[in-house]
Symmetry: C2
Subunit: 337 residues, 2 copies
């Protein structure tokens, strides 16, 4: 109830449609009487010399202090030398695991029924090392880094997640038949952790085969854990099975219990400010944040309201084939609470 | 007709189910009166010192001499230090482009209708460089190499393919937002080649988004060209859309007009020798080989016979839900000729 001392949480509304969908989250959370006090931070218009990026020092500090936050889409300013702000945030805050649940939304039909997948992506290294150079003219190389440290912690997170969420199986996704050393080390870490969870089924699946099986029969999988780029690819593929990134939440996990929930779709500048955006991914990410905070009752209440609104089908935004505005859709969710 | 001087072609029946499905191809080709003289080569049981692999020197020479061949699945002997024979063949013969058409087979229902995609994969470098090492204990790296030479030739092949096959669009698949130098060079080469084909629509698509769009709506794509690993992943994903690797052909293209058609599924040791294997992927690969040889009439005749047999549904192997043996299925195709 609103008399509880509010929990402070960082909010990055982000760019483009970000502020509108963040508004929707605030409205729904208020309607559900969630005792959250938002500490709002926007992307700066100039580089902050203390972070050397468009992310202000205060905003990073806010996440470190609150240990919990919610993030909308951030557009990276165009021009040479700017790294994606989404990535900068993950790296600066050492958000080592990216959890993306993909499940069929009742009432929203795709080619697939009853999808229920959790992808857990290593979020700090691999192909995202940023190490690249020209060897000679016309020959360039990129370096993929896999460490025991990062692989162990994401593997541990994945198995712990599986156990605490009543999941039956963890699949480690790899291409160790080609990258024997890097993906081999990743698998070795997964093997080691799997030993400690005899109750969880464990398998290793080559990424190409995994993608083929996912489109043929996603029910073969449950929790999937993998290096950074494979996670990037497979989480989008899985999102596609249930309707796309506009409908799927995510949460980034860091050391010391930090959790930054994030809508991973784009900032959709073409429809920004037009009250047309679908806030579902950010709302569901907000639900993940509430679950992380153990505010389970309100999390389930909001979750049901979102699901029921979409299932009912009366109020849907344009991306789902409807004609509702963001506000109408948000109001409908509040009415379902 | 059979009075034509036969064209010599190399045949690698391969391992596991390989010999059985190769037998099926020979039978169908004979029934269709294709004037091919097969030069058959098997994987050796010992390393050939002249090639330093289980591929004999004679077998490689045969492809170089005949400039055309057909290959079944090869199992790589287990044990340290053996590179995949499939890859060795691609590298040794400089087979720079791997073409994998994925199209819906009439009468074989999947979740997707009317899929018609061509993936063209760079086949010699990228993440498959084999360059890997341990930096310090617990830290390993793999090196991805992209060269202008290999990128140009695969891009040129893709656009030429699109033009000569009446295709409308080429999509270059990449992750240049992260690997700006390597994937950036790949894209730059595609850009350059695209300039020479103003009649072909050209777009660049980030791999994660590509996978999401492929599962949502494969009709958005036509010809896709990409670096090695992305090609590995996306070609399997596309195969999954239409039923899997048992149904999709491929052809490897090398310099000097060399073409080695290849069934890219596994050797399925569990069903080997049991007359249960589905020869479709190797048969359709054989059809690609015939088209490469401009034996278009017989290619279309055999193609129709395969398609019609599957569509009719009376004779299907177990993987397609039927009870036919390889022989029964093959006989049915011959009857449809
Ligand atoms: C925007 C891009 C750099 C990012 C990534 O590759 O991780 C995105 O695709 C994601 O998955 O969050
Ligand atoms: C067997 C394996 C090494 C190979 C590859 O990765 O290229 C296979 O997946 C393929 O696509 O032909």
């Amino acid at each position: 109830s609103s008399s509880t001392t509010p929990i402070k949480a960082t909010l990055f509304p982000g760019d483009g449609i970000g502020p509108e969908i963040a508004e929707s989250v605030k409205q729904v959370f208020t309607a559900a009487d969630v005792a959250i006090e938002w500490d709002e931070h926007y992307v700066a218009t100039e580089v902050d010399p203390r972070t050397n990026s468009f992310l202000t020092w205060e905003s990073l500090q806010s996440v470190l202090d609150n240990k919990v936050g919610l993030k909308g889409p951030m557009a990276t300013p165009i021009g040479k030398g700017h790294r994606s702000l989404n990535l900068t945030l993950r790296k600066e805050l050492n958000l080592y695991a990216n959890v993306r649940p993909c499940y069929s939304l009742p009432g929203y039909k795709t080619r697939y029924d009853d999808v229920d997948l959790i992808t857990i992506r290593e979020n700090t290294e691999g192909e995202y090392s940023g190490l690249e150079h020209q060897v000679v003219k016309g020959v360039v190389e990129s370096i993929k880094i896999i460490t025991r440290k990062a692989s162990m912690r994401v593997a541990e997170y994945a198995f712990l997640y599986a156990k605490t969420h009543g999941r039956k199986k963890v699949s480690a996704i790899h291409k160790a038949n080609i990258m024997q050393k890097t993906d081999g080390l990743f698998l070795q870490c997964c093997d080691e952790v799997a030993e400690k969870y005899p109750e969880i089924e464990y398998e290793k699946v080559v990424i190409d085969n995994c993608c083929m099986m996912l489109v043929k029969n996603p029910a073969l999988f449950d929790v999937l854990v993998m290096p950074n780029l494979y996670g990037d690819i497979i989480s989008d593929l899985c999102a596609g099975l249930v309707g796309g990134l506009g409908l799927t939440p995510s949460c980034n996990i860091g050391e010391d219990g930090i959790a930054l929930a994030e809508a991973v779709h784009g900032s959709a500048p073409d429809i920004a400010g037009k009250n047309l955006a679908n806030p579902t991914a950010l709302l569901l990410s907000g639900v993940m944040m509430l679950r992380h905070l153990k505010l389970n009752k309100q999390a389930e209440q909001i979750h049901s309201a979102i699901i029921n609104t979409i299932a009912e089908g009366k109020y849907r935004t344009a991306d789902l084939g409807g004609t509702s505005t963001t506000t109408e859709f948000t109001n409908a969710i509040c009415d379902h609470l």
